[in-house]
Amino acid sequence: MTTTLSSTSPADADHPTPFTGTPELGQPGQVDAHDVCAWFGGRLVLETVDLVMEKSKVTALIGPSGCGKSTFLRIINRMHEVVPGAQLAGSVKLDGVDIYGPGQRAMETRRHIGMVFQKPNPFPAMTIAENVLAGLKFSRVSPADKDDLIEESLTKGGLWNEVKDRLGELGGALSGGQQQRLCIARSLAVKPRVLLMDEPCSALDPTSTLRIEQTIKEIASEVTVVIVTHNMQQAQRVSDYCAFFLAEENQPGRVIEAGKTGTIFGSPTDQRTFDYVNGQFG
C-alpha cells in the first residue's frame, strides 16, 4: 500500500543538481515540504503535510502529543528512516533540491540540516571542545582555526562564558542545560542551513530554557530554525511562523492551520486551533 520514498521525476528538465559542496553552507535555507506522509510499521501517522519553512525565520510546530510533529521534523533531515519499520512519501526540498531525490545521500542532507534533540546527547567520553568539532570530523573538514570555531560556536550556543576555561573537560560532566547548549553549539559548528529542534527545552529548567530561547533568536539570521514545542508561550516568544498539527481520534496527524505566529495565536481561522492555543485541550 505504501511506496517507500517517492521522488520527483528524475527526467525533469529543470531538475536541480544535488547539493554536495560546501559553498552554500552557512547560508540559511528554505524548506518546502509537499505531500509528506509517514508510516510506522504500516500505520499512517502523518498525512499529506504541505509546509514552507521560510529562510532565516523561526517556524514552530505545535500541537498535542502524538500528532506527528516530531515525525515531520525528523523527515526534514532524513532521521525518520533511521527508525526500523518507518516509511514516508512526499517531497522535502531544501532551496529547491529534493533531499529524497535520486543521488541524494542522507549523510549529506544531515550536514546541511542539523538537529537538536529533546534529551541532551553530547558524546560523554569526548571533551567539550571535541564535542563541538565532532561534526566536522565526520565530514573530514578541518577548519582553518579550530580554536576560533570552538569559541564562535560555543558563543552562539550561549555556553562560551561558562566553559571557556574548561574546554578539556568531558561533555558528560556538564549540567543538563549546559549539555543541551553544547549540543546546539555542536550542530552550529558544521554551519548548517537549517537547524531542527525537537522540544529542546522540555527537559530543562526555566533559566536554561531562557538561554536557549535567546540563542534561537540570535542564530535565526544565519540559519533557518524549525522548532517543535509543547510550550505555547515559548512558541509565541521565539517563532515567526507557526504550524498547528492535530491528530483527531483514530486519524493520522495533519496540519490544521499554519501562518504567522501572531495570527495563529491572535485570530486563528479554525476553531480547533483556537481551542488549542487557548488551552482548551492538549
Binding site: M107, K119, P122, F123, P124, G172
Partner: protein
Amino acid sequence: MTIDLKPSPARADRDVPAPLTLTRDYSTPDRIYRAGVRISGGGVFLLLVVIGIFLAWSGYPAFQQAGWKFFTRSGFQTLGAHPTFGVLASIVGTVEVAFVAMIVGAPVAIATALFLSEYAPLKTRRSLIAMIDLAAAIPSIIFGLWAVFELQPNVVGFSTWLSHHLAFIPFFKVVSPPLNASIFIAGLVVGIMIVPIVASICREVFSLAPAGEREAALALGASRWQMIRTVVLPFGRGGMVGAVMLGLGRALEETIAVSIILGGSFTVTAHILQKGGSTISQLIAVNFGSGGTLGLHDLLLCGFVLFLLTLVINLAASAIVNRSRSGAGVDL
C-alpha cells in the same frame, strides 16, 4: 594567642545525642532469601579455594620428586627408577594455542557482533542471533571431529603457504614437517569455537549503546561506520574486553578438541605450523590413569598450574574491564 570559645547558647544545656543504632528487622522470607544467597555466593568462593588447595596438596608429592625442574622440563615419564616429567612444553603450548585462537577468533567475533547489532536486516537479525547462540552450545568434541576430518586437510595447504612466504617470522618457520596436528590448527579450531560466545556477548553490549548518542552522531552527518566508531565501540569497550577474556579462558582450558588434533609431543617450540606440541589440559586428558601414583600427582600438579594460569588471566581481565569502563561509561 588564645580564643575564648563559647558553646552556643542553644547547645549549652543540651547534650548531643548518641548516634542511633538501627536494628534491621528482616521479615522471614527476606531472612531465608538472604541466607540462601549468602550460602550460594560463599559456596562458590569456597569451592574455588578448596579446589586450589586440593590441587596444590595432591600435586605436592610430584613437586617433591621433581623440584623446580618441574617447570623447566617437559614430558610424562613417571614410571621406572628415573622418572622425568615437567610442564614447560605444555605451558608454552597452552599459551600458543590460546594466542592463535584469540588472533583468529576475537576479530571475527567482534565483526560478527557488529554485523548482528548494526547491519543485519531486521527481518533476518532475529534468526541470525538465534543461530549464533545455538552455535555456542555445540559440544567441543563435535568441533574436534570436524576439525580432524574437514578443517585440517584443508588448512595444511594454507600452513604450507604461510611457511613458504612468512618463514622469516619465527612462528611460521618449519624445521621438520609434516604440517598437520600442529599448534596452529589446534588454535584455529579453538578460535572458531569461541566465536559464538564472544560474538553473542559483544552483540548484547553493542545493542545497549545509547540511542540518543547514536542519533546525535547520525544527525551530525556521520556515516554508519563513523557512528559505530564514535558511539558504539567506545561504549562497548569494557564489555568487549570482558567477552574476549571469557573466550580466552575457554581457549586456555579447551581439552577435547585440542587433544584430538595434537599428537602430544613434549617439545618446546615456537614453530606453531609443524606437527607437535601439547597443552596442559591435553596432557592431563591423554595421560590420565597411565602413569602410576607419581603420574597422578604429576597431573594434579599440572592442573594446579593451569588453575593459576586461568586465575591470573581472569584477574588481569577484570582489571582491564574495570579500567576501560570508567570514562567511556558516563551515562546520560
